[in-house]
Structures are given as structure tokens and as C-alpha cells.
Symmetry: D2
Subunit: 298 residues, 4 copies
């Protein structure tokens, strides 16, 4: 197929290479001209504006967005809404909030443009060699773009999940589960670290990856991490987050779905951003007030 690829960052660039490997034609665009030129050397057709992308594709067009969620995606959506024609397909492969995807699908429907949302997991290596993709969109349009997803995913790593929005929703929940699994693993090592035993954490992660119930890719990564820094002495325990965990919790609240462990995993991330907490000060002050318990002075 011939695909317009907008956004040649780490993910988009590798995905484009992956498409080229599979004999697809790629019309490549990025705000950074050098990325476009580089991909031209790898076999893509360059496009230095969105208009050029649109003009170099034959109707019905297929355009894949691989750009940051939020404002940048929103602007592109608006631009494409004006440039595209009936029966064209817009694929959003970024980490968009499913509510935005639902809204955009509705918007495009006004002009009979098809919207497809793709939640992508597996990182840069996945984009290059075969990712995990959760895809939302109508049956008809997914059948049309099916080869793209088949070719860029690993075996069994591609699911048409349902109507538009269901792909990004599924990716969001995937990340929520990921938060909980990571926190669980990490708490286990927290207790080991305080135990009277002198464990070799890399070897612990390794044995847990072979035959145990908790063997998992995250545990393999744990093993890798400890192989580089056996006690993680070099890093601070600051747990940043990039939005999808928060969306998962907000979604659980919207549906009144009890998801306490995922919510708490997120809260512990926020806790890790603080050196000291106001919560702690209030409790310490209260203990001092009623029981005369000493506070730690600053």
C-alpha cells in the first residue's frame, strides 16, 4: 500500500522503515526536514508539508499520524479535516486519550473520512521489528488497511479491538496494568532490600524468570536493570508518569469501576516526586499535639 506517514520521531521513523521493508510505499513528512531527507535515503518519498503528503497520495488516501498526543495531534486533525476527501483514512498511532479519539472519529465522520486509532506497545524495537498494536475502527476500513497492521506487528500482536476509540482505550488500560505490575515487582524488591538476607537481585530476577508464576517481560527488564547497576545505587527513586496511568484512573472513576491497586500505583508515583510531604508534616504535628510525640525538626 501507499501510506502517508506524518511524524518521523523514534517511533514513526522506525515504523516507516518497517513499512518499507514490507514493500509498502511511504510518503514521509516531519516538522524536521532532516528526518524527511534521511528517510528519503531509506526509500521513502519526501513531503515537506501536510499538503504535499495529501497531494502525493491517490484517493482514497491512508495517512498515519505518529506524533505527540494533545495539541500537535489536534492541529493535524484539523488540518487533515480540511484537506482530505470522502473515504480517506486517518490513522492515529500516538498515545491519544480515547475520548479525543471518539471525538475525532465523530468529526471526520461528518466528511465521511474514516478514523482509526492504534495503541502501540513494544517501544522503538517493536516499531522497527514488529510491534503490538490494538486497533479501533469500523470493520470495513480495518479490512482495507489490514495489510499495514499485519506487516508491522509481530505474530499475534495485532488486534482489531472494536469501533473507533477502542484501540486507544485498550492501550490505556494496558498501561494501567503496567503501573500495577511494576509497582508490585518493585515492592517485592523493597522488602528483599530490607530483609536480613543478602540477595543478588539480578540473580533473583533471573530465577523468577525461569519457571515461576511471575515470569514476565517486566521481570526480564528488571534482570537487565540489575545487571547494569546491581543495587541501583546510581539512580533516584523518582517515578515519573506520562499520562496514561492517570487516564486509566480517571476512567475507572468515570465508570465507578473499583481499581484500587492501579489508583494506588499512580499515587505512589506522585508520592515519589516529593522529598517531604505536607501530609507527613500534618500527621507529625498532630501526633505531637495529642501525644507529645517528638517531631523531626528541619
Amino acid at each position: 500500500m501507499k501510506i502517508g506517514m506524518i511524524g518521523l520521531g523514534k517511533m514513526g521513523y522506525n515504523l516507516a522503515l518497517n513499512l518499507l521493508d514490507h514493500k509498502h510505499q511511504v510518503v514521509a513528512n516531519d516538522v524536521n526536514r532532516e528526518q524527511v531527507d534521511a528517510l528519503q535515503n531509506d526509500g521513502a518519498t519526501p513531503a515537506y508539508s501536510i499538503e504535499e503528503v495529501v497531494n502525493q497520495l491517490e484517493k482514497p488516501r491512508t495517512i498515519w499520524l505518529m506524533v505527540p498526543a494533545g495539541e500537535i495531534t489536534e492541529k493535524l486533525v484539523e488540518t487533515l479535516y480540511h484537506l482530505l476527501d470522502e473515504d480517506d483514512v486517518v490513522i492515529d498511532g500516538g498515545n491519544s486519550n480515547y475520548k479525543d479519539s471518539l471525538r475525532r472519529a465523530e468529526l471526520f465522520k461528518e466528511k465521511n473520512i474514516h478514523f482509526v486509532d492504534v495503541g502501540t506497545s513494544g517501544g522503538v524495537d517493536g516499531a522497527r521489528e514488529g510491534a503490538c498494536m490494538m486497533v479501533g475502527g469500523s470493520k470495513e476500513v480495518i479490512q482495507r488497511v489490514d495489510p499495514i497492521f499485519k506487516d508491522t506487528t509481530i505474530e499475534n500482536g495485532y488486534l482489531h479491538a472494536g469501533e473507533a476509540g477502542s484501540g486507544h482505550f485498550l492501550k490505556m488500560i494496558h498501561n494501567g496494568i503496567e503501573y500495577g505490575m511494576m509497582q508490585s515487582i518493585a515492592e517485592g524488591f523493597e522488602i528483599l532490600e530490607k530483609s536480613p538476607f543478602d540477595y543478588d537481585y539480578e540473580r533473583v530476577a533471573k530465577v523468577w524468570n525461569h519457571g515461576s508464576v511471575i515470569r514476565s517481560w517486566l521481570m526480564e527488564l528488571t534482570q537487565n536493570a540489575f545487571s547494569k547497576d546491581p543495587e541501583l545505587d546510581g539512580i533516584k527513586g523518582v517515578m515519573n508518569s506520562s499520562g496514561e496511568g492517570k487516564w486509566t484512573v480517571e476512567t475507572a472513576l468515570d465508570f465507578q469501576a473499583p481499581a484500587p491497586v492501579i489508583a494506588l500505583s499512580l499515587m505512589m508515583r506522585y508520592r515519589s516526586l516529593e522529598d517531604d510531604t505536607f501530609t507527613g508534616k500534618v500527621v507529625a504535628a498532630l501526633r505531637n499535639e495529642f501525644g507529645g510525640h517528638e517531631v523531626v525538626k528541619k
Copy 2:
């Protein structure tokens, strides 16, 4: 009544004064001779050993222990087991684990000595002016020592809760609830502190104490604390704990009773003891492994 009081720390000394005010006779003992002498000046009969306490009381004797829970209480229990006679009463007013109280009640029963466990709340002021007491023991013996509890508690602040052990159990649960309430209040102020508004926390606590649903003694103490240090700038948010919260959680586990908020309140206290966490390091390392997310270097 004539009561042997063993342990003249802040709580025991004030409780003894409270008893003397109410025309009880007190035979006073402490490991610290000066405390005994001081209380003699206030009207007590001095006793410089446990034997002296026992000998200066007429059968059936009533002895109140107001000493630290754990080893010190255990040793005294053993000593008294040997020195006391049938129908004597031992009252443990310390913060003992209810399991120890159950065991000690059984032990004393072998010699037909009565055991009474008292959970005391209200601090030093309470001990002096009128405390809150949750009392466990058999109906018969509680009737006998009833005047002591009536006289040293505030109105309605005395409950014969049930058989031996039930007093310390109730005090333990009281503390578990206290952990949850304190954490709840403190989290509220945590969010206020991060809000775009510029609240005067003392006045906030004050208004919440007048007519609102969350008015409470803890909120009054919150107001006091902020009146002394408006932003709690002088103290660190280290939340120590003294055991009863932990016992509450352990008890919940023993009974398979879901008490997630009390458990979490305790966990947040432990979290506050750490400057950085191993949990956080593991999660940060994992995020770096799978997503290339930057870690904070030390």
C-alpha cells in the same frame, strides 16, 4: 479504695494524683525512687519494691500497672503472679497487645487472680482530669473496682467493654481509626497546599471545626498546630508510629477483615521514614528499560 500503683511516669503519676483527689488511698511504686518520694508528698504511701506494694495492701488487693508494654509489663506480671493471692486484682493500664492480655488473664486464672485490661486514651491531661477508659474483665471483678474507673474518667468516658482482652483490643482499634482519620485530614491539606488558592490553614481548620461534618478533636489539634507554625515549615513530614496501628493491621489480617484504608495509612507512615525508596528505583529503572524514559541520577 486502696490501690497499689506501679509505674509513676507521666501517665501513672497523674492517674495517681487523680485517684488521691477522689479520696482513694494509693500505695505508690516506681523504679525511680524520686518519683515515689514526690508522690508521697502528694499524699501517697511509698513502696520501694513490688513486695512492699503487695505487703501494704490488704487482701483482696488491687494493683494497677502503668508501665511500658512488652518486657517490663511481662516481668511485672511474672513477679505479681508469684506474690499475689487468690481473689487479688491486677489492672494493666498500659498499651499492651490484646493477645498478651488474653494470655495473662489465663495465667492469673490458674491462681484465681483477676486480670483487668484498660485501654486509656486522652493523654496526660486525661489521666489527671478524667480520661477515656475501655475496660476488659469479668463482670464480678469490674463491679468491685468500678469506683476507680468512675472516678478517674470523664463523664461517659468509661466502658466495661467485655471479658479480659476486650479493653486493650478496643484501644487498639481506636488507634487504627486514628491513623486513618489523621491520614485523611493530612491528605486534604496536602491537596490544599498544591492548589492555586492561598489558604490560611489555621482558619481553614477553624471553620471546619464549626458546623461542618468533619469537626473533631483531631481537627481542633490541627488548628492548634497551624496556629503555632502556619505552614509547618519547622518540621519534617516523618510519621513515626508506636505499634498499635501495626497491631490493628495484623489483627485485620488474622480475621481476614478488609481494612484497606487503615492498612494504607500505616504503609504511608513507613513510606515517610524513607528519603528515597528502592521501590522507586526499580520502577524508574524499568521505565528506562522499556521506554527509554530518563532516570534521575544521584
Copy 3:
């Protein structure tokens, strides 16, 4: 002062009576004509439409909304935006989300109309006899309407918290704390209920209200509840919620403020809405898969 009161439900009606008691003039409106007539008998001036409210007040007008948050408030705000003039004051005494209040304050500012948001606690009795009010708005306008708040609140139960929005924000956080305190108290009784002791819960709540650290209005209500139904046999443990707890958690997420106990208290409410959970089914199925542990068949 002369005040337009829109919304004569349980809260608004009693608040209007409270205002009349304090010699204020009330122009009363409600969608329900009978409520208006009833309040006329109590001394108010009737108004059967918003236009009538506006016309019966002299400039600068003061209008108090006591209607359900959300759509109904929104519509009234739009109507009043068109009907009111410069320097008029709109007071929203409902349970509005502070984000709406911030937005509405901006909206009214376009026409130099003043917006005041009031978080009210204390229930119907409070509205009638003296409530707790947390008020947001500019210094100048609050000074003008100050008598209204002074007269309808209990002593010390009124706080000008800050700029517009700060009143509803404070009320929201108040409710978040309330969720945590209620869950803490309830978990304590949960453990008591599973204990080997046979507690009289009403008397437990009573003793905890006299001299203990956890004495509070909520514990008094606990005592009341048990006095009516000693084991709460007549009711189901379904914990509904009305929005402000959810907003508190969403706000904590927005500010990356760790508030794990409040979040968990909300999650346990959602959990209580389920007879059985999909979460539980998945875990049970997994235990069966890896360990052959028996599942409970339906």
C-alpha cells in the same frame, strides 16, 4: 439586606427562613410554585420567574442560587448573565465543581457582575440554625454581602477563604476528608465485628466520643446510628457517593498530589456497588489456572 433566593429545596428553604429570622428581606423563587407560596406565608416576597426576582431587587442586586449543581446551575447562570447588570452579585451556594465556579466567575467578570461561591456544610439543620460556610470571592464584594454569611452561619463557622472558586474547592476537599474519616471509622467497626469479643457498638461509639482522640461529630452520628439499629441489620452496605469525593480524587490527580487514602475510600465505595466483581473472577480463574485452586461456581 434584600436577597433574591432561587431554589427552595430543603437547603434553600431553610436558608431563606434563617435569613428572614435575621430581618433580611427575601425575594423567593422556585420552579415549584407551592414552595414559593409557602415561603410567602413565612414572610418572603414571591417571585414566579427569574425575571421577577431580578425586577423586584434594587441595583446592585444580590441573588443566591441554592439549586442542584450541573445543568440546572449552568442554565441559571446563563439566564442571570443576560438579566443582571454591572455590580450585581451572584452567589452560588450549591455543590458546584470549583472548575465551573472559576469559569463562571470569569464569565460574569465580562459584565462586571460579581460571582461568589459558597461551600455549605452542616445539612438542613445547619441551613436553618447556622451552617458552616466556606466562601470564595473578591474582598470588596464579600465585605458587601458579609452580613448574610455572618447571620446564617454558626459562630466561627464562616470563612472568606480567598478568590472566587476557593469556597467550592474547600468544600470539595472537606468532603474528600469526610470520605476518608468515614471509611476509617467503618473499618474499625468491621474489625470489631469480626473479633472474638461481643461489643455493644453504640456504647463503643459513645465511649470513643468522651475523652478519646477520635471523638468527632461523625462518631456521634455513629452512636446515633447504632442506637437505632444496634447491628445495622436492617440496611445493606451500599456506599453511594454524590460527586465531591470523585472531584477530590480527580483534583489530586491534576495536581499530582498523593492522596492515597482518600482515593481508596472512594474506590471502596465503588466496590460496594457490586455484588460480585469481574476483578474477583479473573483472579479466581488465574489461581485455578496456575495452582489448580478450586473456584466457587455460580
Copy 4:
């Protein structure tokens, strides 16, 4: 090697077969005579009492216990303490609490008997084909029995973790992590189930197992479970537990190690054992008291 195997349940029987496959000699014992005879047919030497096991082994002996933790293990430990001689080795392959293992190692040390604790993961299939084993014991004795563990584990699935106790400790933490991971996965599906989309859960689990961050053995089992019962309609969400999760939380409390997510995962299991909760009743009653909110009558 020649090994005495005591306990021929599902785990012990398959482990014995595994040992026989690897040309070890097995002296087999069980309280159930038929199990002993069956294993004799498979090539083991039968022993109908503990004494027979001991007598049929040459010094220094190696005896593997594969019996339920707790009382049964304790009794066997006492019996073996009396029957065994210096330099013999006792391996406990059951799910014992590490504190018991520490105590038993000390006990056997009095007679210079070696104690080895083995945490085993991987279920019955693992026992038969190659398990995951976390082993605690002194360097010297582990070297001696090393072939047994090498032969009965899968590649890289065997770790000498440290001194006696460290094996069972590591298995315990493994299970704690397992609780958290399972709850995380299950909560994800809980939200999916309440979403507006119509997911095929088996296919969701399948796609998550191919290329995603959360691919894991537990997710494979999730896929299996949904393949048998697509909506898990046939089972109830009762989440039982068998002790090691509780021990993990108790251990976290002992070390003041914050492990909130593991603790909460356990609490949610206890919650699932209740149809209705006393916690919920108390909160519902309180909402009714202060706000007149309706309760659900039974």
C-alpha cells in the same frame, strides 16, 4: 544421589518421578500407603514409615520433605531431629514460613544436621518437568545436594539464594508480587468490562501477550481462562488466599517496608469473601445521619 522423599502428594509425587528420570534413587514415603506402592511401580524404594526412610539411606543422608506447611512439617521436623545423625541433610520443599525455617535451621544445627529450605514455583507441571527453585542453606551443603536441584529445575530456574531461610523468604516475596500482578491484571479487565466497548477478552489477553510491555505467564493464563469461559460467567469472584500473601504483608510490617499495593491486593481478596460488609453498613448509616441520604434496606 539417593534421596528420601517424604510426602507423595501432587507436588512430591511428580518431583520424585522427575528425580527418578534423572537416575537418582528415591526412597519414598507417604501417609497414604497406596501412593508409596504406586511410586514403587515407577522405580522407587518403598518406605512405610519415617524410620524406614532413615534406615534405607546411608549416612550422610538426604531427606526431602514435600508436605503441607505448619503442623505436619513441624511434627516431621521433630521426628527427624531425633532419628537423624550429624551431617545428614533435611530439605523442606514445602511452603513454610521463613521464620519457621530459620528456627528449624537453628534446631538442627544443635545436632549438626543441615537444613535446606526450598521455595518451589511452577506447579505440578514444574515439579514433573522442571520447576523454579529458590534454595536457602549453607554453601557447603548446597554444593553437596546441588545435583538434585540442577536435575529437577528448568534451565536457569534454580538459585542458591543465601543462608537457610532465604529460600522460603524469596518464595514468599514471589507470591506477594504475584498477588499484586494478578490484582493489576484483573482490575484492568474490570474497567474493560465496564467500558462502552465490546471486547473479546481472550483476544485482548492474546494481543497483550505478543509484543506488549505486560506480556507474562499470568497473561497467558488469563488468555487460557477466557478461552474456556469467555466472560467468566460460570464462576464467582471469590479470591481465596493460602497464606503467603499474608506473610508477605506481615513481613513488610515487621521491616517497616512500604508495600502498599501488595497489602491492598490482599485486602481486596478479603473483601471478596464478603457478600456485604459491616464497613459499608456503617458508611451508609453515617451518610443517612448527616445528609439524609437514603440507605438500601435489606
